[in-house]
């Protein structure tokens, strides 16, 4: 389709495509990006590979910018509620702990609700983090009904004058309709117990995830609504490229990134740093 306009030959474009695929950007988003860049090159040739890469970075940053606000919004008055969701093993519980510390540093005092009543030692795990951060953890016994725990937990938090509630939930595959229905019930119960809540519903996504990440985001978004992504394990070798498809199709912004297993390994999302790291 495209004549080789300037200095950039087919080998260059093939290599660029491979780097994007290798970063989990996905075949379709990659094809669109390469098509756009080659069209520009055809109109006015890039002087060098570096120039083409700079243009690519701009395109990627533009995709992220269109996804929306990366800020975390909790009300100034009344209790702010954060619901943390996602498929199994992505780092939800650890993220709840990190977010607790992050908000504490900003002057808030999060109250935690142990909403995973299913998995072995899930409540114990959150309680350890509660001890380490000094945050109160509300829990009932394993096997309790999650919606009931959340309902009672919010009541307990409010009666304590808590300014922030973070709700940890059990990992669940988005394909499990009963578990997604449970999550929808939890969401309804939250709204009923506290008007306007949850203020943030964060989908926790493992950076090593491939194209399934898009389906995860779509399904969770359609089910309970998602206000932002937490992209975890960016300290791995994974680039998390599936977030571009998520940004493009769902306008879902990344709000936070996890960069390790320790309490302070959580940072607000920096789009240009993320795009730069994609190519390092």
């Amino acid at each position: 389709l495209f004549r080789t306009a300037g200095t950039l030959d087919a080998a260059f474009w093939d290599e660029l495509e491979e780097r994007l695929i290798a970063a989990d950007v996905g075949a379709h988003v990659t094809a669109d990006l390469i098509t756009e860049l080659r069209a520009r090159d055809a109109r006015r040739a890039f002087a060098s590979g570096e120039d083409a890469e700079t243009a690519l970075r701009e395109l990627l940053e533009a995709i992220l910018a269109r996804a929306g606000d990366t800020g975390l919004y909790l009300p100034e008055e009344g209790v702010g509620v954060v619901l943390v969701i996602g498929v199994n093993g992505t780092g939800k519980t650890t993220t709840v702990a990190k977010l607790t510390r992050y908000l504490q540093l900003g002057g808030r005092a999060p109250f935690l609700i142990a909403g995973d009543t299913f998995r072995a030692a899930a409540i114990d795990q959150l309680k350890v983090w509660g001890d380490r951060t000094g945050a109160t953890v509300f829990a009932q016994s394993p096997g309790s009904d999650t919606a009931a725990v959340v309902f009672d937990g919010i009541g307990a938090a409010i009666s304590r004058g808590a300014d922030t509630i973070i709700i940890d939930t059990a990992g669940r595959l988005h394909t499990k309709t009963n578990l997604m229905a449970e999550l929808e019930k939890v969401r309804r119960v939250i709204g009923r117990r506290q008007a306007g809540a949850p203020h943030e519903t964060l989908l926790v996504l493992d950076a090593v995830t491939g194209q399934n990440g898009l389906i995860q985001a779509k399904t969770f978004m359609g089910s309970v609504g998602v206000t932002g992504l937490v992209l975890t394990k960016l300290d791995s070798s994974a680039k998390g490229g599936v977030v571009f498809a998520i940004a493009e199709e769902l306008r879902l912004p990344i709000k936070l990134v996890g960069t390790g297993e320790r309490i302070d390994d959580l940072q607000p999302f920096d789009p240009s740093e993320f795009v730069r790291a994609l190519f390092s």
Binding site: D24, G91, A121, Q125, K127, T175, T209, G210, N212, S237
Partner: protein
């Protein structure tokens, strides 16, 4: 689906006698796309498509199959062959208890799979127990102990103060004294780029000389599956892969990538969160899933 796309491409090919290079190349573009969508590593996809091309060009269009079906059959055969079938055979020769070391990235299902494996081995007449060597993650030991209680399987643990190597060594002695035949050693999740943690695993391997070292990885793993498997394999010598979360809709291309690049066989599939949810690996089922 890939079948529909190929059917659309070959729709007009009704009357040709053989699959021409041009026909095959057009079809293989779709196959490559399907593999990438399934998270197959781009180099593995490229090599795979080359092999299929060699087998498909010039093939007589059979009377009973459409050209699309013809190409698909070759793709399927090649996929099943590559994924290859040393299904679920675990090795526990050597001194008892034979150690099985569970390793992998954070949150992939090692602890859950350890308990699942224990139950399966017991059904096969073995006397397995588990050793809790994750001294880092909060409540990791409690998680393994709870699972052990749920299935009536011994768990050896020493809390979080001792080192994983000490716990594993003493655990094996403890297990031997109690007549256990297999020790499933659960370890902390780690990233292969973390040299210190990879060194720790090498030390553990040298200390207990496992008969099996299983990489546990989620079916939703993307392109990094190759880098992860290669690193763990280079440092430890993996004997098998446990692919978890197959009960979701991730296509699982990581299985093909890992198998093709490292030769490691898929030994088990995690097919749910419950303890019974461990299945034997069947290449044909995983193949059709990868193709979508």
């Amino acid at each position: 689906s890939l079948t529909d796309r190929l059917q659309g491409i070959f729709g007009e090919l009704r009357n040709h006698g053989r699959l021409s290079e041009a026909d095959v190349d057009v079809a293989l573009k779709e196959v490559r796309l399907a593999l990438l969508e399934a998270d197959v590593h781009f180099r593995v996809a490229r090599d795979f498509v080359k092999r299929v091309r060699d087998r498909a060009v010039g093939v007589e269009v059979s009377q009973s199959l459409t050209p699309a079906q013809q190409v698909l059959r070759i793709v399927n055969e090649e996929l099943v062959e590559t994924l290859g079938g040393t299904a679920g055979r675990l090795d526990w020769t050597g001194p008892v208890p034979a150690p099985i070391l569970m390793v992998g990235l954070n949150g992939q299902g090692k602890t859950t799979s350890s308990a699942k494996l224990a139950v399966r081995l017991r059904k096969m007449g073995q006397r397995p127990f588990m050793i809790a060597c994750d001294t880092f993650r909060p409540a990791a030991i409690q998680q393994l102990v709870t699972l052990g209680k749920q299935v009536g399987c011994d768990v050896y643990e020493e809390g979080t103060e001792a080192s994983p190597v000490e716990i594993a060594r003493r655990g094996l002695e403890w297990g031997r004294d109690r007549g256990h035949t297999i020790a499933i050693v659960d370890t902390a999740g780690r990233q292969q780029v973390d040299e210190r943690l990879m060194d720790e695993l090498v030390e553990l391997r040298q200390a207990i000389n496992p008969t099996e070292i299983l990489l546990v990885a989620s079916a939703m793993t993307g392109q990094e599956a190759v880098n992860v498997a290669q690193a763990f394999h280079a440092r430890l010598g993996l004997t098998g892969l446990v692919l978890t979360q197959i009960d979701g809709d991730a296509r699982g291309g990581a299985a093909l990538s890992i198998r093709a690049v490292t030769g490691i066989p898929v030994k088990f599939l995690g097919v749910g969160e419950k303890i019974e949810a461990l299945a034997e690996f069947h290449p044909d089922r995983v193949a059709s899933r990868i193709l979508g």
